[in-house]
Symmetry: C2
Subunit: 353 residues, 2 copies
C-alpha cells in the first residue's frame, strides 16, 4: 500500500462522535452524543510522537461505556471528557506510524476514538490483528475481543463449570451471553438463555444451540418461568442483568451454585435500582456470587484467542453481530443497547478497509 | 457415680419447652414456645433401643432455629414439629446408656431436646466432651460448638484472610462474631465490629480486643459510619445481618473484597425484607460473596477444637456468654436473640451437673 493510496500527509475532514455531557440517573439516549463534522486533520503520525495514525474500521458498542458517562472518578475506567470524542474498542488499520513496533498497513484492535481517523498514543494497549479470511475483522471487538474474553474468563475461571450442570444465561443473545451459552454447551452443560424478543429466542434455540430459551418480557412470573425451564434448579448463572431476574434466579439456584456477575446492564442507569430481597438464599444453598472484570485475566488472552479462534474456524461456535453502517449511526446504536434493540454484538462499521 | 445417685430407673417429672406452631412473617416471640410440666419419664435407656438417656445441662439459643419454626421442608434442617419439644444443641450428661459407645457419667454435646432429660437415639451426631476445668462445659455449644466453628470455618475457609487486611464484623458481640473478630486480630488484621448497644461496643473494644467498634443504632448513616471506621475500605466482611448494613458495606468494600454470608438474622423473619440495591458494586470491585454452612467443613472440626481450645487455654481469646438460669427461661431467651437482648452467646443453664 503506497503512501499515495492512503492519502498520507493529506488534510481530511475527520468526522467524529462527541460525548456531550454527564448523565446520572437514566439510560443513555441518542442525544447524549452528537456527530461533529468539519474537524480538519492531517493524515500523519507526527515525528517524535511515538503515535500511530489509524483509520477506524469497526467500533464497539459496549454496556460498560455507560459507566464512563457519569462524573465519577473512582471506577476502573475514567469518565469520558465532555465535548470530546467518545472512546471505545475498535478494529483499525494503521495509516502511518511513528512507532517502531507498528507499521502502515497493519491492523490493530484496542482503544480508539469514535471518529474516522485516530492518532493513538497509548499503543501498548493495542493488539495486532493478523487478517484471516476465515474470521471477520470485526470479530476482534466481539467474539475475539473484550466481550468474548469476558465470556471465556467468566465461564471457565469464575463459574467453575462441570459437565451436566444446569446453566442459565441472561441477555443470552448479547455480545457476551451468546458465547457463554455455546462454551457451556461444548462443556457438556444444559443451557437455557433468556432474551427480550421472540426473534432473539429463536436465534438462541435454532442458531446458537441453546437447549432452550425464553422471552423474559412474556413471563409475568420469572420465578415460575425458571422453575419450568429448570425443574432441577440452576447450578450456574451468568448474570448480565441484575434486578428482578437475579431475585428469581436466587430462588431457583441449587446447592453450591455459582453466580458470575459481570453486567447488570439493567441497573447501570438507575440511582435507585431494584433491590434484591432474597440474598438469604446464599446461606443454605452455599451460593458463591463473584463479581469479575475480564481485565483481571489477561494472562489467559493468548490461550483464549487460540481456543476460541480455533473453535470458530472449525464451525463449532457461531457469533451473531448487529452491524450498523456508518459512523453517524453510533449514538443510536449505543443507546439501543439499553433497550435491547440490538440482536447480537452491536458493531458500528465506519469503513470497509 | 452410682445408679442410685442419678436416680436411675426412677419416674421423674420431665419439664419441657414445647414449640407451639409455625410462624411466617415475623420475628419469634416468647409465646411461640411454652413450658410444659407434668410429663412423666422413666430415667432409663430402654433395652434394645441403642439410645442414651441424658440430663441436659446447657442448651443453646441459635438464630438458625428461626428457620425451623417455618413450615418449609426444603431447607437444610427439617421444621420443628408443632406441639413437640424444641430441639437444639446442648451439653448433656449421660445418665444411662443402651449403646456400647457411651456410658453413664460421660458428657456429650450435640442435638438434644429443650427439656430436663432426653432420650437420644441419633447418637452418631453426638460429640463426647472431656471435662477440663480450664474450659466451661457450656463452651461446647458456644466457643467450641457450632457458633465457634462457624466463625473458624467462615473466617479461615471462606474469607481467605491476609495479614493487615481490614475486617468488618456485624453482630460482633454475638456467638459467632466475637470469635471472628478475635481470630482476625490474631491473624494480623485490623478489625472493627458493630453491635446494638454501647455496652456491647464497650465489650468489643475493652474485653475482646477489637481495634474499634460502633453502635449501629446510633448511626443515622451507615455508609458514613463505615467510611469513618474504614477510610481505606473493607477487605473482608463477615456478614451476619443483611439488609441496610450489607448495602452500606458494599459501598465501602475494596477491590477483591470477600463477604462471607452466614447469618442475615435481621432478614430471617420477614417476607419482604429490605432489598439490597447496590449489588452492581460486585463487578468493578470483583467482590466474592459466599454463603456457607459450617456443616460443609466438619472435616476441620478436630483441628478447630485443638486450635481454638488451645488459644483459649493460653488466654489468647475470650468468650462472652449470656446465661439464663433455668429451662423455663428458654422461650424468653430465644426470642431475645431477635431483638439483640443477649450480650454474647445466649445459653440456657438447665442444671449444674
Amino acid at each position: 500500500m503506497s503512501a499515495a493510496a492512503v492519502g498520507l500527509g493529506k488534510m481530511v475532514d475527520n468526522k467524529q462522535i462527541i460525548f456531550k455531557g454527564y448523565i446520572e440517573q437514566r439510560a443513555p439516549e441518542e442525544t447524549d452524543m452528537e456527530v461533529k463534522v468539519g474537524n480538519k486533520m492531517k493524515l500523519e503520525a507526527p515525528k517524535g510522537s511515538g503515535a500511530i495514525l489509524v483509520k477506524n474500521l469497526y467500533l464497539s458498542c459496549d454496556p460498560y461505556m455507560r459507566a464512563r458517562m457519569r462524573d465519577f472518578h473512582g471506577s476502573y475506567f475514567p469518565p469520558f471528557v465532555p465535548h470530546s470524542v467518545v472512546e471505545g474498542f475498535g478494529v483499525s488499520k494503521i495509516i502511518d506510524s511513528d512507532n517502531p513496533n507498528f507499521k502502515g498497513g497493519e491492523f490493530v484492535a484496542g482503544f480508539t476514538g469514535w471518529e474516522e481517523y485516530t492518532l493513538i498514543y497509548k499503543t501498548e494497549q493495542l493488539r495486532k490483528v493478523e487478517p484471516d479470511h476465515r474470521i471477520p475483522l470485526s470479530y476482534h471487538i466481539g467474539l475475539l475481543g473484550m466481550p468474548g474474553f469476558t465470556a471465556y474468563a467468566g465461564f471457565y475461571e469464575v463459574c467453575s463449570p462441570k459437565k451436566n450442570e444446569y446453566v442459565f444465561v441472561s441477555a443470552a443473545s448479547g455480545a457476551v451471553g451468546q458465547l457463554v451459552g455455546q462454551l457451556a454447551k461444548l462443556h457438556g452443560c444444559y443451557v437455557v438463555g433468556s432474551a427480550g424478543s421472540s426473534a432473539k429466542v429463536g436465534l438462541l434455540k435454532k442458531e446458537l444451540g441453546f437447549d432452550d430459551a425464553f422471552n423474559y418480557k412474556e413471563e409475568g412470573d420469572l420465578d415460575a418461568a425458571l422453575k419450568r425451564y429448570f425443574p432441577e434448579g440452576i447450578d450456574i448463572y451468568f448474570e448480565n442483568v441484575g434486578g428482578a431476574m437475579l431475585e428469581a434466579v436466587l430462588q431457583n439456584m441449587r446447592v453450591n451454585g455459582r453466580i458470575a456477575v459481570c453486567g447488570m446492564v439493567s441497573q447501570h442507569s438507575m440511582s435507585d435500582p431494584d433491590g434484591v430481597r432474597n440474598l438469604f438464599n446464599l446461606v443454605p444453598k452455599r451460593i458463591r456470587m463473584q463479581g469479575f472484570l475480564q481485565s483481571d485475566f489477561l494472562h489467559l488472552y493468548p490461550r483464549f484467542l487460540e481456543e476460541v479462534g480455533s473453535l470458530y474456524k472449525q464451525g463449532k461456535i457461531k457469533y451473531v453481530e448487529d452491524r450498523n453502517e456508518g459512523l453517524q449511526t453510533g449514538p443510536t446504536a449505543f443507546a439501543g443497547l439499553f433497550s435491547g434493540k440490538n440482536t447480537g454484538k452491536q458493531v458500528i462499521c465506519v469503513a470497509h478497509e
